[in-house]
């Protein structure tokens, strides 16, 4: 099962993502901000990071940029409420591999993951 790191400042959303993913994935960490996301990524080297954008301390785009600098082969899916075109382009520039907008349902999450980390 692929290892997944969940980075989202909302406890509610972390729980929801965990419930969606835990059947087919191993959740290696749940973090609340971009700094913790980068640190945990370096420690755990998960197969996939589900990354929120709007988070305190360091946002998800900066964290993605740092993770991709550390490991260009890292897989990061932005998982965010932000549906702005300019923000999506920023995410692409930071190296994000996929983008899901909240609110989402399980099929769209699984589809995005399959695109990035084929089973």
């Amino acid at each position: 099962m692929p290892d997944v790191l969940i980075a989202d400042d909302s406890e509610f959303m972390r729980n929801l993502l965990r419930e969606i993913l835990e059947e087919d994935h191993t959740i290696v960490g749940e973090v609340e901000n971009g700094v913790e996301a980068v640190e945990t990524y370096k420690e755990q080297q998960p197969d996939l990071v589900m990354m929120d954008i709007v988070m305190p301390i360091r946002d998800g785009i900066e964290a993605t940029d740092e993770i991709k600098t550390e490991n260009p082969g890292a897989n990061v899916i932005m998982c965010t409420s932000v549906g702005q075109e300019e923000k999506m382009k920023e995410a692409v520039r930071a190296g994000a591999d996929g983008y899901i907008t909240k609110p989402f349902q399980k099929p769209s999450v699984m589809e995005a993951i399959e695109d990035v980390v084929p089973s």
Binding site: D9, S10, E11, F12, M13, E19, V54, M55, P56, T80, S81, V82, G83, Q84, E85, E86, K87, M88, K89, E90, V92, A96, D97, G98, Y99, T101, K102, P103, Q105
Partner: protein, 404 residues
């Protein structure tokens, strides 16, 4: 055609002073004590004018007016308020229905003449008005339905809320000017070189906001499974000190975010307490069946506020081809005015008036109501409207698949 902020402010002040004059007349005649609470100019969908009157039983006194400014105006009182006025005019007397009606009609006549005269004096012109017409109706039916410019979806409305001191009675003065008459007048008082906004862009912005509200309602529906509809969206303009009054004194639960970019400002998503519990329950995978908000409810509300905020502002960003950043949501649980006060104070450091974007959504399935209030920086909103390309107004959604 353009309007500037100063003209909007002046016209708002005129309506406020007119309402104060009308209220003084009423107090003088009846011995009752009343004050004008708030006056604002609102750009709103024609079908939403007067929605705040809900389904109460009202009496009113209507006038048509014409001249440099033309339109209709109405004094609206609830049934109990009109009876109190009638009794105060005939102290100790036996007020039959005819007398009650006549007294309200006359007091309306005197009040509204004072209201209209203020406009005429400022404009240095004469504004003629019709004899008063006494009307009785339920809810918004009390307001006149102009057939003059029906082709317009949006209309400007001046509304003053007047509070009866020591009584739980409010009454209202609505002025519904003809669109062309008002915008021509505002344009003629505008210094186009200074801070003018094209009126059509205000309308487009209002439509974008309506789309944003629909998106936020769809997000609620997707997260909760509860069929939710965007109900009202309006763009108001009021003195900064009146902004907290827009929200009122009920207790709310919701989120506040600060957004940056063009425009910057604050955005509030507020639920009444009962709605907050209902909606949070609907979001949870297991039934909590609690009467009060728990930490889990608050977590759910915080995330819902976050998602609704994005649904609301993303459209602005996509149309304006920019990005609007916002802070993580901050949970609030307090009286409406207490939530808005510090935000208005912060925005008020740089401006005397504020545009306020208000949206409401409702559902028939459960008792649920949500309000979204945006308080944008006035200068930046003006800049954003200046940069707004009207023919991009429908491009509120970004295509993820095209970008990734």
């Amino acid at each position: 055609m353009k309007v500037d902020i100063q003209s909007l402010g002046t016209f708002n002040e005129l309506a406020h002073e007119g309402a104060e004059q009308a209220t003084r007349s009423m107090c003088q005649m009846t011995g009752l004590d009343a004050v004008v609470d708030v006056t604002k100019i609102t750009l709103v969908g024609r079908e939403d004018v007067g929605e705040q009157l809900a389904s109460g039983e009202y009496v009113g006194v209507q006038f048509d007016f014409e001249g440099e400014l033309a339109g209709e105006t109405v004094l609206v009182l609830d049934r109990a308020g009109s009876e109190t006025i009638a009794e105060s005019l005939v102290p100790g007397g036996d007020v039959d229905e005819t007398m009650a009606r006549s007294s309200v009609e006359e007091i309306g006549n005197i009040m509204m003449s004072g209201f209209i005269d203020g406009w005429a004096d400022y404009l240095e012109t004469t504004i003629e008005h019709s004899p008063p017409t006494y009307v009785e109706a339920m809810g918004e039916e009390i307001l006149p339905r102009s057939d003059g410019d029906d082709e317009r979806d949006q209309v400007f409305v001046f509304k003053s809320e007047i509070e009866w001191v020591g009584e739980s009675v409010e009454f209202y003065i609505y002025m519904l000017p003809e669109y062309d008459s008002l915008t021509s007048l505002m344009a003629s008082h505008t210094d186009a070189e200074r801070d003018a906004i094209p009126v059509d862009k205000l309308e487009v912005f209002n439509e974008m906001t309506r789309d944003g509200t629909k998106q936020a309602a769809q997000n609620v529906e997707m997260m909760t499974g509860i069929c939710t509809e965007a109900e009202v969206t309006r763009l108001s303009f009021a003195p900064i000190e009146d902004v907290p009054k827009q929200v009122g004194t009920d207790t709310y639960v919701g989120t506040v975010v600060e957004f940056t970019g063009v425009p910057s400002g604050f955005l509030l998503v507020l639920f009444d307490e009962a709605s907050a519990v209902h909606i949070a329950e609907a979001m949870m995978p297991v039934e909590m069946d609690a009467d009060e908000l728990t930490e889990q409810h608050e977590n759910a509300i915080e995330e819902l506020g976050n998602i609704m905020t994005s649904g609301f502002v993303d459209g602005w960003a996509n149309v304006l081809q920019t990005s609007v950043e916002h802070t993580p949501p901050r949970l609030v649980h307090d009286m409406g005015q207490a939530i808005v006060d510090p935000l208005a104070a912060q925005v008020g450091q740089h401006q005397e008036h504020a545009f306020i974007v208000d949206s409401e959504m409702r559902t028939d399935d459960i008792a649920f109501g949500a309000e979204i209030h945006a308080l944008p920086n006035e200068t930046e909103l003006r800049q954003a409207l200046d940069e707004l390309l009207v023919d991009r107004a429908d491009q509120t959604e970004a295509d993820v698949e095209q970008i990734f």
